[in-house]
Symmetry: C2
Subunit: 486 residues, 2 copies
């Protein structure tokens, strides 16, 4: 994209790889899986936002953990930078190679579902299994794997864990980290961390698993994982609710929690502007209600007992919301298909923004109770800075996680608007910091937010992070320049 | 206790503290909170199992985080070993001072509940708040803090987090680690780690919080925490179920999960022998059923909707269990008081074993599906080694966590029986290892299991643990000799 000023770090290039070294790496995986042609590389170099033009010497596609180990051993020995990559869906450039001296290590061919344990409710998978396949394998075993993201059809579970992905299931089931019981990873020197434990309780020493999870490939390359599965709900109800304000949405959240308990499996919010975008640009989208409302909430209730039970719970919580004057209008999905259609509208939000021109994006979280205050203050600051800016703030209200996206004013110059990305980030993230929030709720740091992390995280924590990085990767070959610089 | 051969490490004594240094430490907290008299020290030196006779130069009782910081700064400067201590209820000696050169740092006077956020459902507490007070404060706010342990009336939340305590609530709500959103801790040099975040999603760099949680005071001293609260169930039903075997219990677990989903808030098992001990030694305990059964399960179902809903779910799952021939008999508690009485029987198991003589104890976990196999193999091995040994294996079936306790044969010599502690540990832990289990499910490593950890954990992980310990505590002043030696 032209004109985006996101102040991407311009790290010096690594030395290009020699032909001889390329050949040694290629020999590990076989030439068919060592890609060097520009046409073959393209898919690994481009990323969803177009912010990080990728450059790399080659792409390696190992099939086994042992091949990954051999690659990292050679890389460590020769100080060759390795960029691990799963489905290449990350939004902060963590998976993007940055120089002709770097090698992309694709995990996509590690794609076996190793085992399903229906009694212990676990699934053991290779890192390269696409998230949707994990969901399907769980479903076939009569169970649920609740991690759910817009990119689930192409993102891979290793990348989900490496970035501690969030999504819409966090409300009831937790982040990727909480869904993971065990990890297998290859460390920088090629050593294999054998941590594929299926235990719900294991207090044998420091929690190295959770250090690897969320480290974005900078401490080790996740090659396999044991994931938690859950009983599949017997019933599921989805409602689209119109209300006057974020405050009303928050009140409804508390009511819904009281009624549904752990069965509240979705609570997403979006503004009217977001619904307008969806209705305008997403095929088949229909306004579920006759009248417009300033805000909408998508509520999902699951029941372990029955569809009727889910229905009753949904009706009871909406009735209380109506009586309290919180809910202006509500449409309960009449069928599973309509429920999916409601979800599809929410999940199409990012896509629906694209035809509206440039969008300055944020992935922030604040304490749940402060979401309305954040929206009000951020709205005032942004529209003061850019009159006419169209704020499309949506996301996971129950997690305090707002995708605070700002579409350009109608008719404005896209490049000119996007050139203010950094300035607007500063405004929004400043407010988030004042509210003890996070400028990266679920997307991670990657390259995009590395400088901001270094600037804003307490010096003590940056020191600990750098020290930990040095323990795991003394030669700085694992995804160098991402998350933290040493 | 006489005769116990648990091969406690005999580390060399630290140099005794000079008078001058004692005075400098005392000046930080004031002489009233710097205990040096034997009578004052006693309560800090003795621990529940009587395995770790404590020795210490003094006990410091700071009131503020700043005082903790000043203590650690001075300790680091003077290389004085510090043993952090909460409610002194730990079972592996992690909180026990080991030489006249060590200082006990009691967190008990850091006892403020700092804040409750009913909308974001969090509570922020000092480390020294007794667990039961956290539960009560949550209850007063109409919410639930689900961490629940036998020692909840005296253990402190800082210690719970430092040891990643488990307990009976793990099934539905997770270990202490999963219940914790943010941590405040003082590191070895006195620096304060300001991590009291109230965010459900925060992906800003490596997960240092979870490294501190479960590090048993060896990486930092936890001084405060933000904990997750949950909606308080509207209804709760407890049943005591008699059945033929652990296999039957496991089948009932799956049925119960299917019916209750996240509302299955308790699933504990015990053998007839355990119930016999309870009936014999615990005042007021009554057999809930007319006939004896080989095994029992305590099932708890919670409902967010109503007492009737919980009742219906319980009845439905038991009915299915009866029809399938899994449940032999069941008693649903007729009142909350009776439900509490059922729980009390389960929670009295450890106490009820005491009058039966010596007990060789284990805190193990295996994959849930393998619990019956473990019980069978371990039973055969133990009774072959010690004919007449009375195996009282009970615990958290849904977590695969078995407290595999063995009471001495009737009439046997206690000292002679206990002298085989180490040998029997070897048998049981050997089986656990074969089943990819853990020899410390929820009690931690402390001193008791340090050597076994060093012997059995992969060298790579021990190397990482030692390297991490050195980063956080270069002078080895924080609980030295616990968990891992450097």
């Amino acid at each position: 994209m032209t004109g985006i000023d996101i102040a991407l770090p311009t790290d010096p290039d690594d030395a290009p790889l020699s032909e001889a070294l390329r050949a040694r790496f290629a020999a590990i995986v076989g030439t068919a899986n060592a890609l060097t042609e520009a046409a073959d590389l393209a898919a690994y170099l481009e990323e969803p936002r177009g912010l990080f033009p990728g450059r790399a010497a080659m792409v390696l596609r190992p099939k086994t953990v042992e091949e990954v180990s051999a690659i990292l051993r050679l890389a460590d020995e020769t100080k060759t930078p390795i960029v691990p990559q799963g489905g290449n869906t990350g939004l902060t450039g963590g998976q993007s190679p940055r120089s002709p001296g770097q090698i992309v290590l694709s995990l996509s061919r590690l794609d076996r579902i190793r085992a399903v344990d229906p009694v212990g409710r676990t699934i053991t998978v290779d890192a390269g299994v696409v998230l949707q396949r994990v969901q399907e394998a769980a479903d076939e075993a009569g169970l649920l794997f609740p991690l759910s993201l817009g990119s689930e059809g192409s993102c891979e579970i290793g990348g989900n864990l490496a970035s501690n992905a969030g999504g819409t299931g966090v409300l009831a089931y937790g982040n990727s980290r909480e869904l993971c019981l065990g990890i297998e990873a290859v460390l920088a020197g090629g050593e294999i961390f054998h941590g594929l434990r299926r235990l719900k309780k294991d207090n044998r020493g420091y929690d190295i698993r959770d250090l690897l999870v969320g480290s974005e490939g900078t401490l080790g390359v996740i090659t396999g994982a044991v994931l938690r599965l859950f009983p599949k709900p017997a019933g599921r109800e989805v409602a689209f609710v119109g209300l006057a304000s974020p405050e009303a949405a928050l009140k409804l959240l508390r009511i819904a929690e009281r009624h549904a308990g752990g069965g509240l499996t979705g609570f997403e919010f979006l503004p009217r502007l977001g619904l307008d975008f969806v209705l305008r640009h997403i095929e088949g989208a229909r306004d579920p209600m006759a009248q417009a409302h300033p805000w909408y909430v998508l509520v999902e209730v699951s029941s372990s007992r029955s569809a009727e039970d889910a229905r009753e719970t949904m009706e009871a919580l909406l009735a209380e919301g109506f009586e309290a004057g919180i809910v202006a209008d509500a449409a309960i999905a009449a069928s599973l298909a309509q429920g999916d259609a409601f979800w599809h509208m929410r999940e199409s939000m990012s896509w629906a923004q694209k035809p509206e021109g440039g969008s300055i994006k944020h992935d922030v979280s604040v304490p749940v109770a402060r979401v309305p205050e954040f929206l009000e203050k951020a709205g005032a600051a942004v529209t003061a800075a850019i009159p006419g800016a169209r704020i499309c703030a949506f996301g996971h209200l129950g997690d305090g996680n707002v995708h605070y996206n700002i579409s350009q004013p109608v008719g404005a110059d896209t490049a000119g608007f996007l050139s203010r990305w950094r300035e607007i980030n500063g405004l929004v993230h400043g407010l988030v910091a004042e509210m003890d929030g996070s400028f990266s709720a679920e997307h991670g740091i990657g390259l995009l937010k590395r400088e901001e992390l270094a600037r804003t995280k307490p010096a003590l924590e940056m020191h600990l992070m750098r020290s930990i990085k040095r323990i795991f990767d003394r030669n700085n070959i694992l995804n160098p320049g991402k998350v933290v610089q040493i």
